[in-house]
Symmetry: C2
Subunit: 415 residues, 2 copies
């Protein structure tokens, strides 16, 4: 058995082992942030990398750092993604990137051909998904200074458990901190453009712009039978109209050149009883586009529709927290380096944009960052049926290994 075959077998074996944590009957995983399933996955990952000589540390918000020292005292190149998942999520989203990072680091360390300039850290970011605790990309947001750690630690899940309590319960919290010189991430595409174009590798050029809003529709609790239509202030009706309006905005504002995507992923009705007109609905709505001007126009139209819905249905709609991510480019030199590596390995590749947020969306604002994609079958994601082939996963690990090797050798940033 050649070394290459051994490594190939090892990655797929490790991937299958990892996928048993929080496994669901439908072939996916449920590893919401800081649940026991997330904790078990973190402990398994710790054991795996410690077996390869890494040292594992945690920072104050539970980000997990697997450190591989190649040059004592040198700065670190970080490779990251996340092991947490959506409820009934797929087994590739995030987890693939963390494991690929570990295997790339192990291979680079074992096959060093030139003098390394950096050490390597593989990071498992806390709570990228943002389902149990909001917002998403929580760990990397704290790491990059966008959200204070204290705010995150005090954030509670629907049952009232705080992030601090949940992290302490699974024992993955500490006080470590790390200086990072550059950041690399590989992830499944979660879209279908690579598959449609017959490509194995996506080189991510930029993020889409995304505006995310928490809306609260306020009505007046009433009897569903006895209350006349004219007297109703039906929060569920207002919120439903807002969900439909958001889709209409996407349809109306998308152009051939720039898509607009709108969604509502969370929608909570109060008191949600069969014979009660709802008094309140809390919902999250987001608007995304590749183009800042198109996004601004769609966003303005969404807000105009909010006012119309308030008038038409006799409800009041307030806007709570909002999170705005402007469309931003990844490092151009990194994109060129990754393209050069893909060409060297003979991997079909192309430039893509990411519609989804990733931890690299945060990291690229503080250090030079390279973001890579492998294909998602039919673009299905956040779904138990999410799938990336073994061949595509292995191609991604090969590419990441090549990129890490060159970055560690000083081809991307200087120590």
């Amino acid at each position: 058995m050649t070394t290459q075959t051994l490594q190939t077998t090892s990655f797929l074996t490790d991937f299958r082992s990892m996928s048993t944590f929080g496994a669901t009957p439908g072939g996916g995983v449920d590893r919401q942030a800081a649940t026991s399933a997330d904790g078990q996955t973190r402990n398994w990952f710790r054991g795996l990398v410690e077996g390869h000589g890494f040292e594992v540390r945690y920072d104050q918000v539970g980000n997990q750092f697997a450190l591989l020292e190649l040059v004592p005292g040198a700065p670190y190149i970080a490779i990251g993604s996340h092991l947490d998942s959506q409820p009934l999520g797929g087994r590739f989203d995030g987890a693939y990137g963390v494991l690929a990072g570990a295997h790339a680091a192990i291979r680079v360390a074992s096959l060093l051909t030139s003098e390394p300039q950096f050490n390597i850290a593989v990071i498992n970011w806390f709570n990228e998904e943002g389902c149990r605790f909001k917002p998403s990309m929580m760990g990397s947001s704290v790491f990059t200074g966008k959200i204070p750690a204290e705010q995150v630690l005090a954030t509670t899940d629907p049952s009232g458990t705080s992030v601090r309590e949940a992290l302490e319960a699974i024992g993955t919290i500490g006080d470590f901190s790390l200086d990072v010189a550059a950041y690399l991430e590989i992830h499944i595409e979660q879209g279908r453009s690579l598959e449609d174009d017959g490509l194995t590798i996506g080189l991510v050029e930029s993020t889409w712009g995304a505006n995310k809003y928490e809306f609260v529709v306020h009505g007046e609790q009433a009897h569903t039978g006895a209350t006349l239509i004219a007297d109703r202030q039906d929060a569920l009706l207002g919120a439903s109209a807002l969900v439909v309006a958001a889709r209409e905005v996407a349809d109306d504002y998308s152009t051939d050149e720039h898509m607009v995507i709108t969604s509502c992923g969370e929608f909570n009705v109060f008191p949600n009883s069969p014979v009660v007109v709802a008094s309140r609905v809390n919902l999250l709505v987001d608007v995304r586009s590749t183009d800042a001007a198109v996004l601004a126009a769609a966003d303005a139209e969404l807000h105009r529709r909010v006012s119309l819905i308030e008038q038409r249905f006799n409800v009041r709609i307030s806007q709570g927290a909002s999170h705005i991510w402007a469309s931003k480019a990844y490092d151009a030199a990194g994109l060129a380096l990754a393209a050069s590596c893909a060409s060297a390995l003979g991997l079909p590749h192309g430039v893509v944009r990411t519609l989804a947020g990733h931890d690299s969306t945060n990291m690229k604002d503080i250090v030079p960052t390279i973001m890579l994609f492998v294909p998602s079958a039919e673009g299905i994601s956040h779904n138990e049926r999410e799938f990336t082939s073994d061949a595509d996963m292995l191609a991604g690990v090969d590419l990441l290994t090549e990129v890490v090797s060159r970055v560690v050798a000083g081809e991307f940033v200087q120590p």
Copy 2:
């Protein structure tokens, strides 16, 4: 102090005591079926009526019977309503009718002027509201043979607790059964017609027809950011469109003569995570009208819209359980008797229809039934701000006493 003043004071004192069970900060009550708050209210009611010589029994689904024997061996006239409430419900809905029944029975027993032909039972029906356990009017549905007891006992709440377990936990379940000769109920109107017309008493002529449906909208779980609009099968979008369509059906099919009322009171989204396109929404939709033909037309249009929504938004909508209540008249002789009593007491009264379901909706199908209303301020109901004045409550007790007195004397049905 005269006897009348003593009784007046006693009813209002008892009403205020009763309203402390499950009391909410906003002035309402939360006494969902077979919760500890419901159990405490039932125990309080048992103590109250036992102090007046009643004997209290429970049937197999927790209906509570307070028996006052006037003529050993004679059949029973039942007066009923319910002590359970909506979450954050008002303190009048149901509870007023049970307490008014007890006070009317006590007064009739103490002031008997002619030979009684019947005994009196005051019934606190189990789970009229149907919020914790579905469907509503559960206890009276079993009593009248519309739903098997075993089905009800096996019904679970969202946490998996069955009706049987919940009733055993509060200790109000038994094996009693009762033959009833006639049924009387007094309730708050939960609409505004009495207030608008300046009336104190509503004599309920008929129920509205009501079709209640459980719909399930099936989509496909996906990523809210990365999944293209064209690829989405968004269950939340389909369900939202159905809620909006239901309101449009009410607007389009109401006539000057016959109103159509549509509602959605319960709406549950799966998996309901911020960045996941929903795979499924379960929702309850009901359509009501005073006229059978108008109801049928509105219902057909609602179902036509369901098909359109399936096509437009690429979802599948299945229909689960449905509950159909045809518009039905109350006993004409009972209506005349109640009108005669109201006139005798000088109470301004008029004939009304009920948009809401009541336990009398079930009981009228098996025995001669009289249904009475007192006003609801601004028609507000299923709301902590639900309100009926002391004067209106007392007028209702006076009228109910007069009606019970005549029914017990044999003026409505024969023993």
